[in-house]
């Protein structure tokens, strides 16, 4: 019963737009949300209207410019010490972005190495790493943060350590699964037969194929890292005043929500917009790169 019709090759799966079309439809909404954050993050100090830390007791709690009592000198108003909110938001963008990107990069590095080792070598390495990933997954993030806080107190290091400790496992889990399937591919098997060293196989044959997955994961994680940073700052373990970060600004603004609603509102809005932007961008990237990992 082999009379199957062989003549034509199956056409490209219907209903799926061509790759070209996908790249053409860029996620404009995400780009619009992220562009100001990235610009502020890179050239922040050039854009300050005021020094973000200068206290101006003549202008405390000034409302945004478009409200009664506001002035064009302080477009988004001022805080309880008369510091310009917009300038502080720009400063916060820098801090938040640096921490989020830095933390995610380190976590990615650790996670990718662990995941590749786990998936490629299997055995004891695999069961140890998988066990660690499992444990991390079943513990609430906040407990790890509190423990780190208890060990080293608050500050930038705590935030970075928390992000690394919380995120490496996500990379390890996903990369392990990808490596497991890559390991069985023909060209990897061939490389093994050709007596290539493990290092060579891992870096030349496996790592390049993980690129898409990593890029997508990093993008999505940056959003989550900003949220984590904000939460840590909010419980007082993060960036310490007079330095600032968005989470801290929401926390400080909380005390004034009856008299100066713009303080917590705009700082929170900045966080939300940035995270939303990275989430949308990451979702788009996942579809565009056709990453099969649905678990991202």
């Amino acid at each position: 019963m082999n009379g199957a019709i062989a003549p034509t090759r199956e056409r490209a799966s219907p209903g799926r737009p061509s790759r070209k079309g996908k790249w053409r439809s860029l996620p404009w909404l995400a780009i619009i949300m992220l562009a100001p954050v990235i610009i502020f993050g890179i050239c922040g100090p050039l854009l300050y209207l005021h020094d973000p830390t200068t206290i101006d007791l003549l202008n405390p709690q000034k409302p945004p410019a478009w409200l009664e009592g506001g002035s064009a000198a302080f477009p988004l108003g001022t805080d309880q010490f008369g510091r310009d909110l917009l300038s502080r938001l720009i400063e916060g963008a820098r801090v938040s972005l640096i921490i989020a990107l830095g933390g995610v990069m380190v976590a990615a590095l650790i996670g990718i190495v662990a995941g590749m080792a786990s998936g490629y070598f299997g055995g004891l390495v695999d069961s140890l790493i998988s066990q660690a990933v499992d444990v991390k997954m079943s513990l609430p993030a906040i407990l790890l943060i509190i423990l780190i806080g208890a060990a080293i107190g608050g500050g930038m290091t705590t935030v970075l350590a928390s992000i690394v400790l919380l995120f490496w496992a996500d990379y390890a889990r996903v990369i392990r699964a990808e490596t497991l399937s890559l390991r069985e591919r023909g060209y990897v098997q061939l490389a093994k037969v050709a007596n290539a060293s493990h290092i060579r196989i891992l870096t030349r044959h496996i790592l390049p194929n993980l690129f898409g997955t990593c890029i997508v994961l990093v993008t999505l994680q940056v959003g989550r890292a900003i949220l984590i940073e904000a939460s840590i700052s909010f419980i007082g373990l993060g960036i310490q005043p007079p330095a600032t970060a968005w989470g801290l600004m929401v926390y400080e603004g909380r005390a004034y929500l009856a008299t100066a609603w713009w303080l917590p509102t705009f700082s929170g809005l900045a966080i939300t917009m940035t995270v939303l932007g990275t989430n949308l961008f990451g979702d788009w990237l996942r579809d565009a790169l056709d990453t099969r990992q649905s678990s991202l």
């Binding site: 079943s138 993030a141 906040i142 966080i271």
Partner: protein, 305 residues
């Protein structure tokens, strides 16, 4: 099923051992416990005596064993600030935290599933679009900010609901809804994609060919199948919720374990932190175990090997 249960029990045990080790190590790095316990002008000899009495002269693994033994008896020492047994203080606050997270868990699961099903059934309509937007917003906005906005709108401006403390049931509304938002968004997204996935399954086509009414196909077959992957992540959702509680308790002044721990953290009250972390870890691990076991009830492929 037996193997499955054993595996889950093993994981729960490992998790608890790891967290207890972490706590133990941190308790040791942050300083010599003697510093708290002995009088400041104590001589070397007196210090050695105290050390011997506390077992601190023994090897580290023996100390750990002692530590676990104490922890099992609920002895984490006295709170440095309040000078009361830390374990007791945490236990007192536990009901408030459990109440808050449990309600948020139920709300987020039920609403999330309902919204996910609705979005999947109305795929590519404005309802689907609105729900998806809500979901991605819920996953992007920090919960403390949503909480603060809610306080500003419903508490300060409209004065509809209380925003601070834990007196009557109405005090639960804002905190639990705020807490539920993130989980609800995750559950919704997952349910939606799981429902869309089941829609393409062969057995759904076969059910239609059998002439089974559409409502029965959706609610008996598709929903139950879609719930399998949803159930698998409910444990993780619960972890998120418990973590989120800490923040929400601060925003809404809720007298739970989370707020107690953050206060303890700012006071460097180590025994209180240890007791709090351990108790929360135990609760989360236990509930995770329950979720894993209920997974077996829904999916016969796990129940019957």
């Amino acid at each position: 099923m037996g193997r499955y249960i054993l595996k889950r029990l093993w994981r729960a045990l490992i998790t608890l051992i790891v967290i207890s080790m972490l706590i133990f190590v941190i308790a040791r790095v942050t300083g010599d416990p003697i510093a708290y316990l002995a009088p400041e002008d104590a001589s070397e000899q007196e210090l050695a005596q105290v050390r011997a009495r506390l077992g601190l002269d023994k090897p580290i693994y023996v100390q750990y064993a002692f530590y676990v033994g104490d922890a099992l008896r609920g002895d984490f020492g006295n709170s440095l600030r309040y000078n009361r047994p830390a374990f007791e203080m945490v236990l007192q606050r536990l009901p408030a935290t459990i109440q808050l997270s449990l309600i948020a868990f139920i709300v987020s699961t039920i609403l999330g599933i309902m919204m996910g099903v609705l979005a999947a059934l109305r795929r590519d309509t404005w309802i689907d679009g609105a729900l998806r937007l809500l979901a991605v917003l819920g996953q992007s906005a920090p919960s403390f900010w949503i909480g603060i906005l809610a306080i500003m709108i419903f508490g300060v401006h409209l004065q509809w609901l209380p925003t601070s403390g834990r007196m009557g049931p109405e005090y639960l509304i804002l905190p639990s809804l705020t807490l539920a938002l993130f989980s609800m968004a995750s559950v919704m997204r997952l349910t939606r994609s799981a429902m869309l996935e089941t829609q393409t399954q062969e057995y759904v086509k076969f059910l239609r060919a059998k002439g089974v009414p559409e409502s029965q196909i959706i609610f008996k077959h598709m929903l139950r199948n879609a719930l399998v992957p949803v159930l698998a992540v409910l444990g993780i959702q619960l972890s998120h919720l418990v973590g989120g509680t800490v923040i929400i308790e601060i925003v809404f002044n809720w007298p739970g374990v989370g707020r107690l721990m953050v206060e303890a953290l700012l006071n460097s009250d180590l025994p209180l932190i240890q007791a709090g972390v351990m108790l929360i870890a135990i609760s989360v691990v236990l509930v995770n175990l329950l979720v894993d076991l209920s997974y077996g009830l829904v999916d016969p492929r796990i129940r019957i090997e």
